[in-house]
């Protein structure tokens, strides 16, 4: 019986299911059992680095520090028992590497790469730049689940139902179940996300690293893993080998490559997967909490050499000049979510987790590619032609884990400006073609109407109302652009605030 391994697998699957459930329930009306930002608030990398770079205290810090404390006791249990990306890597490795004996890349000193990544993120945060999002596993996993997995799953389910009801003619049988599912489980609309395939490829690239070694990502790249590895060096829980005949069976089978040839192990690398406890033919391996071991050797593992340290120090310095050399300040040529912080601050605070895009009730929040430069990658923008900003909706601010989009009250939200609508009179059905329309005015949600009607006499002598935007009242929600019937280009478009 490999009780501990089973327990660990159970925990992994439970956390993965929980992770997906939380994101699945990150939708109107936010009735999930757990807050949508749970997995980010317990993430010390995201919380500490964001707080550091933004020079702010974040509520999530306390929860994240609890996780660090637990790591000081138990070691990197998070990586082995909780992390949903780790679970995905384990599952992939099992599918791809049938044979656990298969030779892995000897990662050896490559594991220091991740400390370099962490160091880079840390120095960048000190300099006021938040770079934790680039390689944070929780962010990578959340983006995949929110923008790839859930859209694909709902599309498939919805498509299957619609196929059965239309093509197979089973409408009468299925329609009530479908309607119920749509409002509870399926979600009202199948979401669409621009460039989602890039996000998928990025995720697939990380999964494919199991071809080098199982958990290659966790051994060598993951900055959160690095953070936990540093804390785990001091952990009380350790691997104890009571009987050993040096069969070295456990060494190649350790998914983290944490066991050394001399049968000692690197506590910072061990993720407590418990495999070695059951791989040992002598049944001589166990884990226990012992404050101090009778050390056989006074060896604390190969620390970072001076040369490496200086090298690592130089790396972030080379990029510190990013803003200096890049010269141009952030452009904000896009419409940001309601209340988003000033562009510079927003770019640093946003961790690109995709929560706001997942929750956006109209699907209007979309991931950016490089429209705002490299630093704008995967940040949210409002694309009114896909979905407008719902006037009384405050969901995106409620699910943002770092406050890049503030939590606004409904009344405050209604006064919050996203941009300014501008009528293109050369395209407008009323202005250019003299026909009745006023769809924009009809939909304008501002109680006093930010779109006013002006009487206009057409060449034929008829009088039509034509829209004029009052810039004092317009909040730039984009519903006018969304509903404008002019094609192919809309005759009323929202300009970003600073454009």
């Amino acid at each position: 019986m490999n009780r501990l391994v089973r327990l660990r697998r159970f925990s992994q699957i439970l956390c993965l299911v929980l992770f997906v459930y939380i994101l699945w329930s990150t939708t109107y009306p936010l009735s999930g059992l757990l807050p949508p930002e749970t997995f980010f608030k317990i993430n010390p990398l995201v919380m500490v680095m964001t707080a550091l770079s933004g020079r702010v205290g974040l509520v999530g810090l306390s929860a994240a520090l609890v996780l660090v404390f637990l790591t000081l006791v138990f070691g990197r249990f998070f990586c082995g028992w909780v992390c949903p990306l780790g679970t995905m890597l384990d599952v992939t490795a099992r599918l791809v590497r049938r044979d656990r004996w298969r030779r892995s890349l000897r990662t050896g000193r490559m594991r220091f790469i991740k400390f370099g990544v962490l160091f880079f993120v840390f120095v960048a945060a000190l300099a006021g730049i938040q770079a934790a999002w680039v390689l944070d596993p929780m962010v990578i996993m959340a983006r995949f689940v929110s923008l790839n997995l859930i859209p694909a799953a709902t599309r498939t389910l919805d498509g299957a139902f619609v196929f059965a009801m239309t093509t197979l003619g089973l409408r009468e049988v299925l329609i009530d179940a479908y309607r119920w599912l749509r409002e509870s489980f399926l979600g009202i609309q199948v979401p669409f996300f621009a460039h989602a395939v890039v996000i998928l490829l990025f995720f697939a690239l990380i999964l494919s690293s199991v071809a080098l070694a199982p958990r290659f990502w966790c051994r060598c790249v993951c900055p959160l893993g690095a953070l936990y590895a540093l804390a785990a060096k001091a952990a009380w829980m350790r691997r104890l080998v009571d009987i050993c005949k040096h069969c070295t069976l456990c060494i190649p089978r350790c998914r983290m490559g944490a066991i050394r040839e001399d049968m000692t192990y690197d506590k910072g690398e061990c993720i407590l997967c418990m495999d070695c406890v059951y791989d040992c033919p002598q049944h001589g391996t166990r884990f226990g909490i012992i404050a101090r071991l009778p050390e056989r050797r006074t060896e604390s593992g190969p620390g970072i050499s001076r040369r490496n340290f200086l090298f690592l120090l130089a790396l972030p310095l080379a990029t510190l000049g990013r803003r200096v050399f890049a010269g141009t300040p952030a452009r904000a040529g896009v419409i940001r979510p309601p209340g988003a912080l000033d562009e510079e601050v927003f770019l640093d605070r946003c961790v690109r987790c995709g929560n706001c895009m997942k929750v956006c009730i109209t699907n209007g929040l979309q991931p950016l590619m490089f429209e705002e430069g490299l630093e704008g990658l995967w940040t949210p923008r409002l694309v009114p032609e896909i979905g407008y900003c719902e006037y009384q909706c405050t969901l995106c601010g409620q699910v943002c884990p770092t406050g890049a989009i503030p939590r606004l009250g409904v009344e405050e939200k209604k006064r919050t400006r996203l941009g300014l609508a501008v009528v293109d009179r050369s395209l407008c059905i009323s202005w250019a073609h003299g026909q009745e329309c006023l769809v924009c005015e009809e939909h304008c949600p501002v109680a006093e109407k930010a779109i006013k009607v002006t009487e206009r006499r057409t060449p034929s002598g008829a009088v039509v109302g034509a829209p004029v935007v009052d810039p004092e009242l317009c909040v730039g929600c984009g519903i006018c652009q969304n509903k404008c019937p002019a094609r192919p280009d809309r005759a009323i478009r929202v300009q970003p605030l600073s454009a």
Partner: protein, 320 residues
């Protein structure tokens, strides 16, 4: 033990597998052809039943929207006249906007609740309540209070789907030809149109005919070009058996959404009629609007869709 061949315990051979594929290859296309036929696109207008009320129009006044609605329908002849036992009924309120009941952007939830109750008492098999909304449908259904009220009284409240539509086929040439219309709006025994009376930027007021835009899907913005003609054709296509106009509180300015309570005034009135032209003409008088300012009403009069003269009509006024 001897191996017992059975469906579940037999090894599936390659031949079996190919047979299964072959069977599917034959049956699935045949099935889907049959299904597609059942889901055929073009549909004719709903049949006009020509049910008449005891009066041409009932105008009920009262502070309680539920009781006033009940009185209005009863005075018209009772719901049993419009709903037979086991019938499928559509109650189509205006749920277009993410607005609360007091903001008067949507039909009052108690008016909807009263109609659902009356239908069920009359023996309706199923009462469907939906609208193709302008704001997000879930928010509209919730904020308007209509989902909660209608479901509490036993109606099926659901979101309309883009795919679940039929295409309108007219007996005459129409700009609405081929327009996608929610299937349930056409495939029902009784259609009750339950608009709210309110201001509108383009059509001056939105009442019964404009409310029927809520059974249309597709790119609805283009209905606004030549709207009078299109709304009349749409009304002729659906031809609701009963029209109940909610004028309990009326949005007088900045419609059709509103948001500012200063734009809302009480009229404490519910209208019931079988005649859309008469109902709309009378509704205009409640807010001192010239009926000729409504393009759809002008068109409807010209087409003889109903009687436009308040003077000659049999109008019953009552207090609930």
């Amino acid at each position: 033990m001897e191996h017992i061949p059975s469906f579940f315990h037999r090894r599936v051979t390659r031949r079996d597998f190919l047979r299964l594929l072959g069977a599917l290859a034959v049956t699935l296309p045949a099935w889907s052809l049959a299904g597609r036929h059942a889901h055929a696109g073009q549909t004719n207008a709903r049949r006009k039943k020509g049910i008449k009320g005891d009066h041409d129009l009932v105008v009920a006044e009262g502070a309680d929207p539920y009781a006033t609605t009940v009185r209005a329908v009863e005075a018209l002849g009772g719901m049993g006249r419009f709903v037979r036992k086991g019938a499928t009924v559509v109650v189509k309120p205006n749920i277009g906007w993410d607005r609360a009941p007091e903001q008067a952007g949507n039909t009052h939830p108690e008016v909807v609740a009263a109609l659902v109750d009356l239908c069920r008492t009359a023996g309706a098999g199923r009462v469907n309540v939906f609208d193709v909304t302008c704001n997000d449908a879930r928010r509209c259904y919730d904020t308007s209070g209509i989902r909660e009220a209608a479901e509490a009284h036993g109606a099926s409240v659901y979101l309309a789907s883009d795919w679940d539509v039929v295409k309108a086929r007219f007996a005459y040439e129409s700009p609405m030809e081929g327009w996608p219309i929610v299937r349930d709006a056409v495939a029902c025994d009784t259609f009750i149109n339950v608009p709210v009376l309110k201001h509108h930027g383009l059509t001056r007021l939105t009442i019964a005919m404009k409310n029927l835009m809520g059974v249309c899907t597709g790119s609805r913005g283009t209905i606004h070009q030549g709207i009078g003609r299109k709304l009349v054709d749409l009304t002729d296509f659906i031809s609701p058996e009963l029209i109940v106009v909610d004028a309990t509180r009326v949005l007088l300015r900045n419609g059709p959404q509103g948001g500012n309570l200063a734009d809302v005034e009480h009229r404490d009135t519910v209208l019931a009629s079988t005649d859309p032209v008469l109902a709309e003409t009378f509704a205009c008088s409640l807010v001192d609007v010239d009926p000729d300012e409504l393009p759809n009403l002008v068109e409807a009069k010209a087409r003889g869709l109903g009687r436009p003269d308040l003077a000659g009509a049999d109008i019953l006024r009552l207090k609930a």
